[in-house]
Symmetry: D2
Subunit: 374 residues, 4 copies
């Protein structure tokens, strides 16, 4: 925490006063008093549209998983370090472990038999599993199994630990609003029990949360819910069926998809019908083989992970061929689109499944959200 004075950064922009000795002297006085003129900064501070510091970037899953395996050998999971998680750091964000200015995305890795110790934090979080199984996340002492395609939200301030009950390591993706809470300085953290109990290591097929909140269109009368979704697991079988239904409805001539060949579902809090977490939106998209999505740009940033399939993805000026597990980031007000290569037939085979999370609920709540479709 330095409090030395700093020079006023001079941004080259119109509307500046004529340089003079008196002006230079004034600027020095301002600096000495921790004051900065708006007219020298406005082009940077108040651009015509969001001018993102982040850049589009792609991380290849094969590379991520190999590095996570190595960390599995070298790095224990202990109190203090808390989690064997490796964050995706946007190359343009100055070495901060941020996928985007507001979003954290990491690969987490747990060895057979390992526990990650219990803690809780104000940061809202979720896990998403692109492959593997065998880990239980234990939320409020409720063991929740994790498997391929499952989405597991974790609203702020819930106690949670993880336990790998399988004979194999398992990796998954964590998404949190760490950068947002860090920059707005709103975060709290508390350590819990160092070990989970044997009872919590049991491996029930369904969590208690799913037994209470996981029945379509039915909420329990006897139980209240807090902030964020009380449903702790959204299973792939449902998500897959929902996407398949949308594309079938389109083929039958009925509404459902976002645009031609592009189905999407949003994970929602069954107690509110709104976003699954107060600061993060999560969705699964399916782009039918041979379909192309219209470029869209939105206020706020998103992180995508390819769940299945291959496609060409364009984000701003970048374009990549992506495949299972690959993760890319779409900065604010940057257009993204997907072109799914044509499969052998009209079926879902060859389609691209794309998991997405974003910070849209922040901007919607504060009346700052905008979007534009080309």
């Amino acid at each position: 925490m330095s409090t030395d004075t700093f020079p006023i950064p001079m941004i080259d922009s119109p509307g500046q006063p004529t340089p003079s000795g008196a002006l230079a002297e004034l600027y020095q006085c301002l600096e000495a008093e921790y004051l900065i003129p708006l007219w020298t900064q406005i082009a940077d501070l108040m651009p015509l549209r969001p001018h993102t510091k982040a850049r589009p970037h792609l991380w290849k899953w094969q590379r991520l998983i190999r590095l996570a395996e190595q960390a599995g050998e070298l790095v224990p999971v202990d109190r203090g370090g808390e989690r064997r998680a490796i964050a995706l750091a946007n190359p343009s964000l100055g070495g901060r472990p941020y996928a985007s200015p507001t979003l954290w995305a990491a690969i987490q890795y747990l060895m057979p038999g390992e526990d990650a110790p219990e803690h809780r934090h104000s940061q809202h979080a979720f896990r998403f599993v692109v492959e593997g199984e065998g880990v239980w996340t234990i939320v409020g002492r409720d063991p929740v199994p994790m498997g391929r395609g499952d989405f597991l939200p974790q609203a702020g301030w819930n106690w949670h630990a993880h336990h790998n009950a399988a004979a194999k390591p398992m990796a998954w993706i964590d998404g949190l609003d760490i950068p947002f809470q860090y920059d707005t300085e709103s975060q709290f953290f508390e350590f819990g029990r160092d070990a989970v109990t044997d009872a919590e290591r049991t491996t029930p097929e369904r969590s208690r949360s799913e037994r209470l909140w996981g029945h379509t269109g039915l909420n329990p009368v006897g139980v209240k819910s807090g902030d964020g979704s009380p449903l702790l697991a959204y299973r792939w079988a449902n998500t897959n069926a929902a996407l398949r239904d949308q594309l079938e409805l389109e083929r039958e001539g009925f509404p459902g998809v976002i645009e031609h060949g592009h189905a999407a579902v949003r994970y929602i809090n069954p107690a509110t019908g709104g976003d699954v977490l107060p600061t993060m939106r999560a969705e699964m998209h399916r782009i039918a083989s041979g379909s192309e999505t219209a470029p869209v740009r939105e206020v706020g940033s998103s992180v995508f992970q390819v769940f299945d399939g291959t496609a060409r993805v364009t984000v701003g000026d970048s374009s990549w061929l992506v495949e299972r597990g690959d993760i890319f980031v779409v900065p604010s007000w940057t257009a993204w689109s997907v072109s799914s290569s044509a499969g052998p037939d009209d079926s879902d085979s060859g389609s691209l499944d794309l998991f997405r999370f974003s910070d849209a609920p922040i901007f919607e709540a504060l009346r700052l959200y905008r979007s534009e479709r080309s």
Copy 2:
């Protein structure tokens, strides 16, 4: 926008793996792939409670106003620079023109006869006048006079210009959510007309906005309101009367004040009963002479300006004697309290009037708000 790789910053914290060559090699590989381990960062990223980068700081009004006068001589108000506004830059925020990580506070200054050109932006804004008069802010072509003690909100995306119709210069305070929208990359800006019309330079006693929305408990049936308050001026006479009433009610034994000797009103949007702007809260506090407030800390930051009176203010480890016009910032989760020196008698004389604005609506909307009173 640099995309060179960067070293993983090593924070001294417990739970780190045993150093080894293999670990160093892993860290190098991670760096090369724009990946950063959580366990090396968690102590910084996820502190037990908000660990603010900002620091408490006081800016003296007499110094601010003198520097603004000098800027009035040297710096024209032109398209491009837009406004003769000088921002308070928190000494610990690395030279950014931010009073706190989310809030912008600046002194703006307009010479006799000067206009500030029309523009609009997504940033929510307000003006508050600690002394002087004669400037009209022209919002959506509605000229709104500004005078001592007036609070003038300016919800995002409304066209606005300013015009000094008086024979003397005038200064006031601008508050905006520029840092928040900058860091979350949600900002838009548009230039408007370069000059205001003569009709807009008329100086009606009351704005059209006040004629429509400024009648206690009465909203117009024929007019809709957008985001943010449709009432463009909150006059000092009302604010003063409301504070006086609260302290009198306390003396009569009735509820009203926050705590003994401490009255406060919040500026509200008459169309919602909620905060006057989607991202900012504004309040006026009066601490009776001889009263002391209990230290309070809250998630999020505040900027205060002394409107009248003198007092000792304590913010975290800092403590200052403050007087009219002085501005200080309270960072997130930092306790603040005020001790008003006893006046000659039991009357309001000797009390401290304190204008305050904060980012609380952001955290309330996102379920991240907490506060604690000692």
Copy 3:
């Protein structure tokens, strides 16, 4: 409470089965089991649009006030009878004391020095004063003076009594949702103290409620509000100024009025920006002299009282000349319009001031509201 069987009422409508002995026998069996066929009732039960049982009706103020005076001589105000209030009973509602199917309107009358004993009830209520002064309504022990043009809401379950501190009798209008709560069977009632204290008989110029909540755009930070408006009096001076401002804005060429020559303000709860009471909307309308309003019909019913001026009012097939104090009812989906006779000049003189209350919040909350303007 009778439980004898009853005949099925036979409504003449299409789609009836061919009469036969078997059918008659079936109908008898149904009657015996407390069963009624939809097909015999649907034309009545489910009309194409609201088919009101109420009718437009006008009560003349001069007649009302004379009868209230006689009641003042003959009827004491006592526990049990509670209030010297005389209800307007719509001529088509079968002798029920209902102005409309949902709304109660009554003239209440208090002699010099009289008290009306304290009670509270779930029914939401308000008072409106067309002439006179001198009565204090004492709400939660807060004495609130009542004068010409004042609107005084009284949300359900607040203790209240009245006291006439003047040397003259005083009359005013009570509006409640008694019929709605009666028919939906949701009402509660509790007796309070038989007498108000001397302290409550003091006659402060302003109620404590107004001192806390009556400052434009400012809510107290230290006080919470319950259901319904915490502001207990809306003064005529404000209402008058708001209406005058709207008509002046129209003359200057700016928006504000509902339609040409027709200003209107809605009384709102300053804590929500919404309707002043959960089940009732209240508004004041001013129709400039020489102006005519477009016929409007809405789901739900309204009661109007002429506050000042004279005009021709048309409600459905009825049309009346109305003057100060006259009260009329507009049933559901019945068009109403007002034609104000031209005054001597362009000023507000000759305009009609019309107080209105309705049940619109019920239908808006339940997504049943519709309206239509000719």
Copy 4:
């Protein structure tokens, strides 16, 4: 619509003025002017707690179904009569076809191959099936199959028709807010097509609505929803599983049930997390064999239908043995409880399944809801 004057009904209550000739004359004058004194009515109008006009009543399913069969023989389903529905008429509501003052409940019956013609209305509605299958309700041209245990909401103003595709007749229960909309005069109705198309007579296993909205915790991104639930069928298999899960959780020592042995789920609108219809709440309760529920009373009325099992039900002063299909009504502020006879073992066998709908959303929206558990 009569407008003869009517006598003031004299209710025997305290607080009445001393009878006299002058008083009698005053009362005659009031009658002549359509005026009714509050003091003569208050004991009826404003009781200490809801004083229901309805009474508890039980209709036996075996009797209902037999009468519906007879209607099937004698009464065609035609435009004008619209539906072969027979309403349960509370014995104390004066021959009105109302189960309670706000709720309509009817048995509807459709012969093999029959269609009920298309219409729409502002009245919110649902269907619940206690036995049978084979009818498709066609909502907005979307054919929705109906089977035992299914709940099918029908928000106001959606086009709908029915078609019996089976070789057998089918009966079900309709619930609507007809009395509420009738008494508040807010209802609209429109005739649709006289016949459904062959395409709509197809019998897909799942409706399009279920394919879009019936996936747990997932809402379609590409489709908006209006008032009331967009999910048109809530299937018994889900409801059954949800209730079984709650009771199993209780046996395992975890929260979930309302009270010992008493599970309950509420049907919710997946777009809001709130009640399935703006004016009606629907729930399914399961009382484990040998369990007894605590008496509860609530503002507003409910209608229950036994879906399975037998039990003793107590409603106010009435008590009945009930079995599958039996329907009973619980008036406002009347306590109800269920005692399920002990089954042979600890299993779900012997439990009572109880479908319920009520008008609670009306009172919650208007801040009039209260409840009390003994």
